[in-house]
């Protein structure tokens, strides 16, 4: 049977402006987590849980790392958790990124706080001998995080919206600089995903989606996404958050 997990906070660091890196330990979660899955975290005093992606998995030490942006009350409160405290979590939830050993070169495209779930994926791809190229977009210089970590995985291009670091503009502005690839994986705000899937039309890829969730386990139908114009749909929390690009309509 599934159950709520008690996760122990191991480390909390502010790694960029309003961006928190938190390491949590739990044996079950660390042993079973897949890149692209999320934890549904219960923050004290809130009626709804907060979905946060798994950014890194350390199966030896039973650690999971999450990265989140301090946005509203829930994430601000989450940022105040200290090592030794426990967090009630559901998960690892949803379907993560799937890849095949036959892939040769993979392009990772992340926007802002959509970058974290691509990190562990990139690590796994590299371990499988698949070449990784990353395009990472941030608002501005003080928001940049994990650039060095992605550099270790492969060629990494950074863009900022205001041009204060890397190239100026959006991730889609630099896609023509990227060498050939056979698959892409992308996570970020919906407008970015729309632009990316349009720009890379004809390529095969996977995208990870965000939507406001209720139960987070597939029962309440809050976070659905249409699959056609005839009433077909998928549940982001359960069937996703990762989908093949042609599976859903953004």
């Amino acid at each position: 049977m599934k159950k709520q997990l008690e996760m122990v906070v191991e480390k909390v660091n502010e790694i960029a402006l309003d961006t928190i890196e938190m390491t949590l330990s739990n044996v079950h979660a660390a042993k079973t987590a897949q890149p692209g899955q999320f934890l549904h975290l219960q923050v004290e005093g809130h009626a709804l849980r907060r979905p946060i992606s798994i950014a890194d998995i350390d199966r030896e030490n039973n650690f999971l790392t999450v990265l989140f942006k301090k946005l509203g009350d829930g994430t601000k409160r989450l940022a105040m958790y200290r090592p030794g405290m426990t967090i009630d979590a559901l998960g690892p939830s949803g379907n993560g990124f799937s890849y095949e050993p036959s892939m040769k070169t993979v392009l990772l495209i992340g926007g802002g706080i959509g970058i974290p779930p691509l990190y562990n994926l990139g690590k796994q791809l590299k371990n499988k001998g698949i070449k990784v190229i990353a395009v990472l977009g941030y608002q501005s210089k003080e928001h940049v995080f994990y650039e060095e970590k992605f550099n270790e995985l492969g060629e990494t291009i950074v863009v900022t919206n205001d041009g204060s670091y890397g190239s100026r503009g959006f991730v889609t502005n630099v896609l023509d600089q990227v060498a050939d690839f056979d698959y892409y994986f992308s996570c970020g705000p919906v407008p970015m995903l729309k632009a990316v899937t349009k720009a890379l039309h004809g390529h095969q890829g996977y995208i990870s989606l965000e939507e406001r969730m209720g139960c987070g386990i597939g029962a309440c139908f809050a976070c659905v996404i249409p699959t056609d114009t005839e009433g077909g749909y998928r549940k982001i929390c359960k069937d996703g958050p990762v989908f093949a690009v042609n599976e859903v309509i953004l």
Binding site: M1, K2, K3, Q4, Q42, H46, A47, L48, R49, G74, L90, E211, R212, M213, G214, C215, G216, I217, G218, A219, C220, F221, A222, C223, V224, I225, P226, G231, Y233, K238
Partner: protein, 304 residues
Amino acid sequence: MIDLTMDLPGLNLKNPIMPASGCFGFGREYSEFYDLSRLGAVIMKAATGDVRYGNNTPRVAETSSGMLNAIGLQNPGVEKIIENEVPFLANYAIPIIANVAGSTLEEYVKVALAFNKTESVNALELNISCPNVKEGGIQFGTDPDMAATVTEKVKEASNLPVYVKLSPNVSDIVGMAKAVEKAGADGLSMINTLTGMQIHLETKKPLLANKTGGLSGQAIKPIAIRMIYEVKQHVTIPIIGMGGISTAEDVLEFLLAGASAVAVGTANFQNPCVCPEIIDALPRTLEQYGFQSVLDAVGKGYEA
């Protein structure tokens, strides 16, 4: 031994706890967390005549001590529910209550008739109160005559006991309750969500795609308690109470107000095991306040 059983029209409950409609789907997801046969009963997600996609997203927003939802009755349609979902729930030895929704009188009757075909459904919950559906335009839940008409028609069509689910978005809840009792309702279910709105400061516009949504969770409990307390004194049919329940103490409060059984909705989202946890805690809570059975406590809040 504290007696948790409760006998209601069509429902032989081993305990008075059931998940509320729309907050539990058709049980599959929660069956991965615990054995559903522990529940007193289960209330399925709303069924309409045909498949419905529902509203655009965002469909939920968090509020102080609660949430707003505007799912818009997304469901595969009554036939698919009977074919694919009812057999799954029938594996568990618990009464099944089907939540019946529609935008027209004919649609309600069609759904009610369809459920006659299955032997596994034990009662209907007539959802005349969903605030999130715009088409149809007929306000069954806020007009006592319309509420009575739909109750009568569904009673005629169905061979199952009918619990009418009342909307709290009315000024005279007692009048609504009396109207549906007179029309033949076997029981009441209350309350559905209260219509609300949240404006998103970033966009300066309503956050929900549907603009308005139904408020549920702890925030609405005092309203549910007040309405059940008032209604119970004017009707003889039993009440299934709901609205913000998350603990055994909340359940006792509903029983005292006049509910004979309760449903738990929003609390499942925070804690998927909340129903069995309440069932485990209930005997002690009843005992602590001097009750030997669930029945003992029903209506004690207003009886002299």
